[in-house]
């Protein structure tokens, strides 16, 4: 895993200095502490920071083809590269490394953009065709690896993380009011957007071509939509068997590395399943890593212990205390680069440090199973509310909601209010966004804290319209559960789960995550499976449980799903994090950023310090406002491109006029990134 940066002149060729590139690379050194390299010519510059995982000695980038006309910088893994390499060798391609990067480059040379269909992996890369003067950027199908870009002053500037783009001092830095409106509605920005005005993200499953001054983006893959009539009619047992076989293969692929690979282990079905397949089929000497919480309601420690003992893994834990989560909230945001309504990514930031300190740099995780196999309550909620809408007065039907949200329905007294809350909008079953409207409308309440200026700047009409407009025609033929699954995957998977809570908090400590459940073959197979098999009655992930049960103790596969959550209010108000919160939410800081209404925020803070059990929505408001304030301070107010230490560049291919040289300035391990540039900015 690595980080990439680059600049491409769209108009006339203008010199790009190594210093600019080195500073961009300096901004993302945490993504690649092992080696660095750049390529420059008169039109384009590419930079790479490397975390060495495959071909440790020879895989340094940029990498070129035989005649040095194609150059690649690449972040990620192509898991099926040995198979692809074989066929390329038969076609006459010659390789000078044993890396997957070089295979990708030759596959592109052979097939052009169509090569993307042949890749099984997680990636973001840039290929410069110096002969045709064309740049090609691409991102993996589901968006596991990040890729951001902006166009400024006749140049395309791109990088794995936004901070590397901001390392170019001329690039303007402003919060995007519409992006904030989206975070405070959908829990994250919509695909393609970032928290910053003018900075875009290449959406998952897309590539970009830059040639002769024009930029075009194309979609090469989308979440598959398979209407009922085209779905499989195989029995559930048979489907589970197919899933089981594919999962073994997906894990086998993802264990390909020249370094040891560990597993995250939460004690739930998904990560336990991956750990079991890994330990039982491929690596009996497995290291696993789990998060513990102080509060019993969040903690899954006993299940982690069960699994670790069952598999005989070397299990390590991180204790995510309220104070610890609060103290690392700002560091998480520096890596995540967007406001957030939760604290849940912080424990994962703490966990990746434990992985790194144990000497590992790659872990398999259980992410994606809930989306693909139907694990979330919001899918069941869609099913129940649809069923309830047929008989809105039915007490028995409405009572099903209570079964879903046991943890919020614990208090018998609140039952009638919760029922009435979920019963709102039952006449809207035909709205394509029906499944998510309760959540989004409820979240939108916290926009009451927006300042008048932010409210007017963010007011671009109906926030749901861009989502409705983006839905393909076939979407409308899906059933309630499949619709909800599509929305969840499209809006939340890449932009929150795989980034804020995935890549960013792992790469913060130079750790690569690999996600077997998001192997595209599994996604495509499950898209052909009827929803009734995915959620049998109200039993979530029915097929996956069947597929994994033979590998797991019953205690694990039959346990009630516990959503991964972390406490919010305690964390943000206690310890050093609490001091930061009070300072960032004080009138002076609020007025300086101009995003929120200081008097309202003050009332919220007072309320949070006095009520015994703060509500979900107030907790989200606190996290959302605080994180917006911190992101504003880190990236707008106090960001100084000049203060990012430029990366020391090991390998330079300089093809600028009159300078045709290759030099290796430095070889060997690079100094670690100083702590001051890693966080808290």
């Amino acid at each position: 895993m690595c980080g990439i940066v680059g600049i491409c002149n769209l108009g006339s060729a203008r010199g790009i200095g190594v210093e600019t590139l080195a500073r961009m690379m300096g901004g993302i050194r945490h993504r690649g502490p092992d080696e660095t390299g750049v390529y420059l010519d008169d039109r384009t510059a590419l930079g790479h920071v490397r975390l060495s995982i495959i071909d440790l000695a020879g895989g340094g980038q940029p990498i070129h083809n035989e005649d040095q006309t194609l150059w690649i910088v690449y972040n990620g893994e192509i898991f099926n590269y040995p198979e692809l390499k074989e066929s390329l060798e038969r076609q006459g391609h010659r390789f000078y490394t044993t890396s997957d990067t070089e295979v990708l480059l030759h596959l592109y040379e052979q097939e052009g953009p169509a090569c993307l269909d042949r890749l099984n992996g997680q990636f973001a890369f840039a290929i410069w065709d110096s002969r045709r003067q064309a740049l090609f950027l691409a991102r993996d199908r589901v968006g596991i690896r990040p890729l951001h870009y902006t166009v400024h002053d006749g140049r395309l500037i791109f990088a794995s993380e936004v901070k590397a783009i901001f390392a170019v001092p001329q690039v303007p830095r402003r919060m995007d009011p519409e992006a904030l409106d989206q975070v405070f509605t959908f829990w994250t920005v919509l695909p393609g957007r970032t928290a910053f005005e003018g900075i875009c993200e290449l959406p998952p499953g897309h590539y970009m071509k830059v040639s002769k001054g024009s930029i075009t983006t194309h979609r090469y893959w989308d979440i598959p939509i398979c209407p009922r009539a085209d779905q499989t009619d195989r029995p559930a047992d048979e489907i589970a068997e197919m899933v089981g076989d594919l999962l073994v293969d997906a894990v086998r692929f993802r264990l390909r590395a020249d370094v040891p690979v560990g597993c995250y282990l939460s004690g739930g079905l998904d990560s336990s399943g991956i750990a079991a397949l890994t330990a039982r089929r491929f690596n009996a000497d497995l290291s696993t890593f789990g998060i513990r919480f102080d509060r019993e309601a969040f903690d899954e420690g006993s299940h982690q212990q069960t699994m670790a003992a069952f598999l005989g893994t070397h299990h390590r834990e991180v204790q995510a205390s309220a104070k610890g989560i609060g103290a690392s909230f700002a560091e998480m945001l520096w890596h995540g680069e967007k406001p957030i309504l939760r604290t849940a990514p912080v424990p994962l930031l703490m966990l990746s440090k434990v992985v790194r300190d144990s000497g590992l740099k790659v872990v398999l995780t259980g992410e994606g199973a809930d989306e693909v196999f139907g694990g979330y309550n919001i899918f069941k909620e869609a099913k129940v509310r649809r069923f309830w809408a047929r008989q809105p007065a039915s007490g028995a039907r409405s009572a099903l909601i209570g079964q879903l949200y046991g943890y919020v329905f614990r208090d018998q007294r609140s039952r009638s209010f919760l029922t009435s809350f979920f019963g709102a909008g039952l006449d809207q079953v035909h709205d394509p966004l029906f499944s998510h409207m309760v959540r989004w409308r409820n979240t939108s309440r916290i926009k009451t804290f927006f300042s008048a200026e932010l409210r007017s700047a963010a007011d671009s009409g109906d926030p749901y319209e861009p989502v409705r407009a983006s839905l393909p025609d076939e979407f409308h033929r899906l059933d309630a559960v499949a619709k909800a699954q599509y929305l969840e995957m499209k809006l939340f998977l890449s932009n929150y789960l795989l980034s804020s809570q995935g890549d960013r908090v792992a790469m913060a400590h130079s750790v690569e995550i690999r996600v077997p459940f998001l192997d595209h073959r599994i996604i495509e197979l499950m898209s052909r499976v009827p929803s009734r098999w995915k959620i049998l009655g109200l039993n979530e992930k029915h097929i996956l449980k069947k597929a994994l049960a033979p590998n797991l103790p019953k205690e694990i596969w039959s346990r009630r799903k516990q959503p991964y959550r972390a406490p919010i209010v305690d964390c943000l108000l206690s310890g050093s994090g609490g001091d930061c919160t009070r300072e960032m939410l004080g009138r002076q800081a609020i007025d300086a950023a101009g995003l929120f209404d200081a008097a309202k925020v003050d009332r919220l803070l007072n309320k949070m310090q006095t009520v015994r059990t703060p509500s979900e929505v107030d907790g989200m408001a606190l996290a959302g406002i605080l994180s917006s304030q911190i992101v504003h301070r880190q990236f707008i107010e106090q960001f100084r491109a000049e203060s990012i230490p430029p990366a020391c560049v090991d390998l330079v291919f300089d093809r600028r006029r009159g300078r045709a040289t290759i030099h290796e300035i430095h070889r060997g391990p690079m100094p670690r990134v100083p702590a001051s540039t890693r966080s808290g900015r």
Binding site: L418, K607, S615
Partner: protein, 85 residues
């Protein structure tokens, strides 16, 4: 300060965070999104503690708590029945 006034102030301060414009006597808390399910619970707790009334589980229905006027009427009635008893 009357019951209705006290409840109004509570809602403005703790639920609407100062934004009392849309809070009129007969506006539905639920339809306008002023209160969500936990907001109702906060309001009920406040009413119980502030006015010393005991609310039975079967009285905990949205109809008693959906507008300022309804909540105040409900509280007044509880207090009156306690006085009689």
């Amino acid at each position: 300060m009357g019951v209705q006034e006290e409840i109004r102030n509570y809602v403005i301060d703790h639920i609407l965070f100062g934004d009392g414009e849309k809070l009129r006597d007969d506006v539905s808390f639920q339809e306008t999104g002023i209160l969500d399910s936990t907001g109702f619970l906060e309001l009920i707790t406040f009413v119980e503690e502030q006015f010393g009334v005991e609310i039975a589980d079967d009285e905990l229905v949205p109809e008693h708590f959906d507008t300022l006027r309804a909540v105040s009427a409900f509280v007044e009635q509880k207090r009156a029945s306690r006085a009689v008893a």
